[in-house]
C-alpha cells in the first residue's frame, strides 16, 4: 500500500471512530551527515526515518498524536489516542481543517541525483573544504568540516478531500576553524546550503571566508559605553527582524502578546524597511508549494516602506481573526501541530552601496555577531551581545567583542537610515547591509 492509500484509509477510520474532521500528515526522510577534522573522518551518520501525525477534531475539540511505527495496530491505537484527546479539549468553533485549494508547483526543490553521488566524493569535499580553511597561517585549529544531505517527502491529507505531496532535498557544506594568538582564540565558520548539489558554492571561497571570520577578530580592543551608529551585516539582520516576525504571528496578535498588535496599516519603522515573505521562489531553501496543513503558499509583502501590511495566519488563527489563512502554517515534522512561520523571508534591497554606508559612518559599530534573543515580541525591548569592528571616520579601525547593544524596537526600526543593495537570496532569511543611525552601545 502506498502512502496515499494509507492516508485515505486512516482518514476513513478516524471518521468511523467519531472524528468530524481528520488530518493525516506523513513525512519520510533520509539524511546523511559527514564530519571531518584534522584531515580524517570524525563522524558519519546515516538514517532513514518517517512517521505519521494525526490531527482530529471531535465536536470542536482538537486532538493530536504521532507515531513512527507504521504497523496497522500502532497506527490504529495512535489515532484512537488523538480522538480521545479531542474529546477532552475545549470545543472551539475555529478548529477546522482547510479545504482543498489548488496550489502551483515550485521548481527546483528536489535534486534526485544527490543520493547517487559516491560517499567518498562527499567525504573528499569536506576534507577539501577543511584544507582551504586551514591554509592561512593564523588559523591554528580546525573544529571540523561537514557535508550534509537530506531529502524529505511530505504528504498532507484531510477529510475535506485535500491530498497533497511534495519532495524536497537539501545539501550543505560547512567548516569551523580557530585562529589563535597568545591567549586569544577566535572562531570563524561558514557554510553553504542549496537544494541542488551542483549549486553549492566553491569550497575554496567558503573555506577562506571561515578563516577570515576567525583571524580578522584577532587583537580586539574595548570601546567606552556610548551612543553611536550600528551597521548591521546581512548575517545579523535576523536579530532585529526575527522579533518583528514573532510579533506579527496572527495567534500572538489575537492574544494581545505583541508589540505590533494595534499597528496594522500604520507606520512603525523607517521607510527603508520592506519585508517580503516568498513561499514560491524557485529553488528557495524556504520554498514550498503548500504550507504545513496543505494551504497554497504565496508571496506577500508584510511590511511596506515601514508600514505594517500583513499578519501571518494558519487556518485556526485565520478563523479566529475572520480572515483567510495566509499559507503560513509551519510544521517541524510529523510530531507536532502546525504553528505559524515564514518561508523565504527577505528585506528588500535599498539604494545604497555597503561600502558607502561604511564610508558615511563617522563613528560606530559594524556589527558581525550578535547573541541573545533579539527584539522581545511581547514588548519590543531589544538587548544583545555584540561583536564586529569599530568604525571611525568611515574606516574600520579595529575588531571589537564583548560589547552590548540595546534599545526599543520603535527607536531602532525608525532609525534605519541607510539600506544597501547587497541582497543575497540564497538563504531562507536574507537581508542587505543596513544602518541604524544611533543605538546605545555598552562597553568599558
Amino acid at each position: 500500500m502506498n502512502n496515499q492509500e494509507l492516508a485515505n484509509r486512516l482518514i476513513g477510520r478516524g471518521r468511523r471512530m467519531g472524528a468530524s474532521e481528520v488530518e493525516v500528515f506523513i513525512q519520510n526522510s533520509r539524511n546523511l551527515s559527514i564530519r571531518v577534522r584534522n584531515e580524517d573522518i570524525e563522524t558519519v551518520q546515516e538514517a532513514a526515518s518517517g512517521g505519521v501525525g494525526f490531527r482530529v477534531i471531535v465536536d470542536g475539540g482538537l486532538g493530536f498524536s504521532h507515531c513512527n511505527d507504521f504497523s496497522d495496530r500502532a497506527l490504529n491505537d495512535t489515532l484512537e489516542q488523538a480522538i480521545a484527546f479531542a474529546r477532552l479539549t475545549t470545543p472551539d468553533e475555529h478548529n477546522t481543517l482547510p479545504s482543498d485549494k489548488p496550489h502551483q508547483d515550485v521548481a527546483g526543490l528536489y535534486d534526485a541525483s544527490i543520493v547517487n553521488i559516491a560517499m567518498d566524493k562527499k567525504i573528499d569535499m569536506a576534507l577539501e573544504l577543511e584544507a582551504h580553511a586551514m591554509k592561512d597561517p593564523r588559523i591554528t585549529h580546525s573544529s571540523g568540516a561537514s557535508f550534509g544531505e537530506g531529502e524529505t517527502e511530505v504528504l498532507v491529507a484531510n477529510s475535506k478531500g485535500l491530498l497533497k505531496i511534495y519532495r524536497s532535498s537539501v545539501c550543505s557544506v560547512g567548516v569551523s576553524v580557530v585562529a589563535e594568538k597568545g591567549d586569544q582564540r577566535h572562531t570563524g565558520w561558514e557554510s553553504c546550503a542549496r537544494r541542488f548539489f551542483d549549486d553549492l558554492e566553491s569550497l575554496e571561497k567558503i573555506g577562506m571566508e571561515a578563516a577570515k571570520k576567525a583571524y580578522e577578530m584577532l587583537d580586539p580592543r574595548m570601546v567606552s559605553t556610548q551612543r553611536a551608529a550600528v551597521i548591521f551585516d546581512p548575517a545579523v539582520a535576523r536579530s532585529l527582524v526575527g522579533g518583528i516576525i514573532a510579533a506579527i504571528n496572527g495567534e500572538r496578535v489575537l492574544q494581545g502578546a505583541s508589540f505590533l498588535k494595534d499597528s496594522m496599516d500604520e507606520r512603525f519603522a523607517s521607510e527603508l524597511l520592506t519585508i517580503i515573505d516568498d513561499g514560491l521562489r524557485p529553488g528557495g531553501l524556504g520554498s514550498k508549494p503548500f504550507d504545513g496543513e496543505g494551504v497554497p503558499t504565496a508571496t506577500r509583502t508584510l511590511v511596506e516602506q515601514g508600514v505594517l501590511r500583513g499578519f501571518l495566519f494558519n487556518t485556526y488563527a485565520a478563523n479566529r481573526a475572520g480572515v483567510d489563512s495566509t499559507g503560513n502554517a509551519s510544521r517541524s515534522g510529523f510530531t507536532g501541530l502546525p504553528s505559524i512561520g515564514t518561508h523565504n523571508l527577505y528585506l528588500k534591497a535599498g539604494p545604497d552601496k555597503a561600502e558607502d554606508i561604511l564610508a558615511n559612518t563617522q563613528r560606530g559599530l559594524l556589527l558581525k555577531g550578535v547573541t541573545g534573543y533579539g527584539i522581545n515580541p511581547v514588548n519590543g525591548n531589544y538587548s544583545g551581545g555584540a561583536s564586529g569592528f569599530w568604525v571611525e571616520n568611515g574606516r574600520i579601525v579595529h575588531p571589537v567583542q564583548g560589547l552590548t547593544i540595546g534599545g526599543s524596537a520603535h527607536d531602532i526600526l525608525n532609525n534605519i537610515d541607510m539600506m544597501a543593495d547587497d541582497l543575497d537570496m540564497n538563504r531562507s532569511f536574507s537581508a542587505p547591509t543596513f544602518r541604524v543611525r544611533e543605538m546605545q552601545i555598552g562597553g568599558a
Binding site: 551518520q45 538514517a47 480522538i83 477532552l88 538587548s383
Partner: protein
C-alpha cells in the same frame, strides 16, 4: 540554554532541523487516561520486540558492527511515550500524544565515530545499521567483543504516583488550578499559557565491553507563563517545575504556587524602566541563575572540545582558574532532579563530579570517546536526545556550591549595580568562552538596596573573566529546571546560591 558548538552553529544541521529531519521530540511527554474514553493504561503496542530484544541478537549486531574494524561498538534501543496538554486563554487548546521507538548502532574506531539508526527495531534492520556504522572503521584495528550480560546501577529516581496511573482529568485539574491562581493574582494578568508535559523513556544499552542495561525513566515538566498588561506596558514571565518523578511533584510544589510566582513577576515588571548600558557589578539571586555558570563554565568543561584541543579550558587542569570561594559541581545523582539520569546513555553510572574546587580546575565531563581520547575516567556525562543522536558529553545538574555569606549581606555590601532575579536563558561559544544571558526580572541596586525594576537586558562576558570575578557566594543554594541545546536537547538543572560578579557588561538602552 544553547551551546554554540560546531554542530549547533552550523547551517547544515540547522537546515536539517528546518526540513523536519529531526527527532521530533522537542518536548516530550507519557500515557494516561481519558475522561470518557477509558484510557491508555494499556500502553500502545509497538511492532517488533523493541526493548525486549534478545541479548543474542544484540551480540550479533555488535559483532557485525566491529567486523570491519573498530575498538568499541554499542547498541541503544529506545521507546518513548509522551503526552502534552496546552491551555491558553483559559481553554484547553490541544492534547498531544506521541509514541516513538528506534535503535542506533555506533562504532568507534580511534577518533572516528560511525552511527546509523533505524525506527523498526528488528534484527535485520539493526544488522544493516551496524554495517552502515562500521563504514568509518574500515582498515582500523579490531577487538573481540565481550558477550553482553545484565549489569546493575544505582537509581536516584523514586516514583510514588506513577504517571501511567493518573487519569487525564487530574492533569486537567492541575492546569485549571494554575490558570485560576494566575488570573486571581491581579486583574492586570491578562493571560496564562500552561503547558503540561510528561513522558516515559525506556532504554536498553548494550556494548562491546559486555554491558547490558535496561531501565525506564519518567519525566514531568510543567510550565506556566503569564502575561500582564496595564495598557502601557506588557510583560511575559515564565515559571517551570520539572522532575523525574510521578504525579507527587504537584504535592511538593502546588500548581497555585507555580502560577503565583509567574504572576508576581509579570506584575512587578510592569514598572520596568530602561536598563543602563556598560560594565557594572551584578548580584544574581539563587536558583536558575545557575544557568550563568552552566553556560560560562559548564559547556567549556565538556570534554569533547578539550579532546579537540580547542576548548577554552584546554591545558588548564590543576590550575587556579577562579577565586577561592568558587566550587562548581555536576551531579547526576541528586534525587529525582530533572538532570538526574541514574546511568548515562552509554551506561556509565551517574556520579557527583567536582569540576572546580576552591578555584582549581579538577575535572572535565566526559563520555566514552572523550575519556579515551584524554585518558580520563568516564564521568557519566555521555547523553543523547534520542536514538536519532549519538551520545556526546553533556551536563546533568550543575551548580555552584554554597558559601559562607548571607544573601542579605552580599546585597548590602554592593554599592551599585544590578540585582538579577530571573533569567530567560543564555548561550556560550565554548572555544572563545564568550557567553551571554538575558535577564527577565532584574532591579537596579543603589547603596546596597534593590530599587526599581529594569527591562530585560543581555549580560555578556568571558568564562575565565567571570569566574575570576565572582567574589561573594552565599549559603542559599537553589535550583531551576532547563532545556540545554548542543545540536541536540538534554534536560538539565542549573543551580547556585546568591553570588556577586564584579564587572559584567550589561546591554541596556541608556547610558
Amino acid at each position: 540554554m544553547n551551546s554554540k558548538d560546531f554542530s549547533a552553529g552550523m547551517m547544515p544541521r540547522r537546515r536539517f532541523l528546518e526540513l523536519g529531519l529531526k527527532s521530533g521530540i522537542a518536548i516530550a511527554v507519557a500515557p494516561p487516561l481519558l475522561s470518557n474514553l477509558v484510557s491508555c493504561s494499556r500502553p500502545i503496542e509497538l511492532s517488533g520486540p523493541g526493548l525486549d530484544m534478545d541479548k543474542a541478537v544484540l551480540n550479533r549486531v555488535i559483532a557485525k558492527a566491529l567486523r570491519q574494524g573498530g575498538d568499541f561498538a554499542d547498541v541503544y534501543i529506545e521507546t518513548r511515550h509522551s503526552r502534552q496538554i496546552v491551555m491558553e486563554e483559559s481553554s484547553f487548546k490541544s492534547g498531544l500524544y506521541g509514541i516513538s521507538q528506534g535503535a542506533g548502532v555506533r562504532v568507534i574506531s580511534g577518533d572516528k565515530t560511525g552511527y546509523a539508526y533505524t525506527e523498526e527495531v528488528t534484527e535485520e534492520n539493526l544488522l544493516r545499521a551496524a554495517e552502515v556504522a562500521s563504514y568509518v572503521a574500515r582498515n582500523g584495528k579490531t577487538i573481540q567483543p565481550v558477550e553482553v550480560k545484565s549489569a546493575s546501577r544505582l537509581s536516584f529516581v523514586t516514583v510514588k504516583r506513577p504517571l501511567e496511573d493518573i487519569a487525564d482529568s487530574r492533569r486537567i485539574e492541575i492546569m485549571e488550578r494554575a490558570n485560576q491562581a494566575a488570573l486571581d493574582y491581579d486583574p492586570r494578568i491578562r493571560m496564562a499559557l500552561i503547558d503540561y508535559n510528561d513522558q516515559v523513556r525506556g532504554r536498553v544499552i548494550a556494548n562491546s565491553e559486555g554491558l547490558y542495561l535496561r531501565d525506564e525513566l519518567p519525566l514531568l515538566f510543567f510550565i506556566v507563563q503569564t502575561m500582564s498588561d496595564d495598557g502601557v506596558s506588557r510583560h511575559m514571565s515564565r515559571e517551570r517545575i520539572s522532575e523525574h518523578s510521578g504525579f507527587e511533584l504537584f504535592e511538593k510544589d502546588t500548581p497555585e504556587a507555580v502560577a503565583q510566582r509567574a504572576a508576581r513577576e509579570s506584575i512587578a515588571m510592569l514598572d520596568a524602566r530602561d536598563a543602563p548600558a556598560g560594565t557594572m557589578d551584578v548580584v544574581m539571586e539563587n536558583g536558575f541563575g545557575g544557568v550563568l555558570i552552566h553556560e560560562a563554565v559548564g559547556h567549556p568543561l565538556e570534554a569533547d572540545n578539550i579532546a579537540r584541543g580547542i576548548g577554552a579550558f584546554t591545558g588548564k587542569m590543576g590550575q587556579k582558574v577562579a577565586t577561592d570561594v568558587f566550587t562548581m559541581v555536576d551531579d547526576g545523582t541528586l534525587p529525582n532532579f530533572r538532570g538526574t539520569i541514574n546511568f548515562d546513555d552509554e551506561g556509565t553510572q551517574a556520579q557527583r563530579n567536582v569540576l572546580i574546587d576552591k578555584g582549581v580546575l579538577q575535572g572535565y565531563m566526559t563520555d566514552i570517546l572523550s575519556a579515551r581520547q584524554l585518558d580520563l575516567p568516564r564521568t557519566g556525562n555521555g547523553r543523547r536526545e534520542s536514538f536519532r543522536h549519538f551520545p556526546i558529553p553533556r551536563m546533568t545538574n550543575t551548580f555552584i556550591e554554597p558559601g559562607k555569606d548571607t544573601p542579605e549581606d552580599i546585597l548590602a555590601d554592593t554599592r551599585s549595580g544590578i540585582y538579577v532575579q530571573s533569567l530567560s536563558g543564555g548561550s556560550v561559544n565554548p572555544v572563545t568562552g564568550i557567553f551571554n544571558f538575558t535577564c527577565r526580572e532584574a532591579y537596579i541596586i543603589e547603596n546596597g538596596r534593590k530599587t526599581y525594576p529594569i527591562k530585560g537586558a543581555t549580560l555578556i562576558g568571558s568564562c575565565l573573566g567571570v569566574i575570576s570575578n565572582i567574589d561573594a557566594v552565599a549559603n542559599d543554594l537553589a535550583f531551576g529546571p532547563g532545556i540545554c541545546g548542543k545540536g541536540q536537547m538534554a534536560e538539565v538543572t542549573a543551580g547556585q546560591p546568591t553570588v556577586r560578579i564584579r564587572g559584567i557588561n550589561v546591554g541596556g538602552s541608556r547610558s
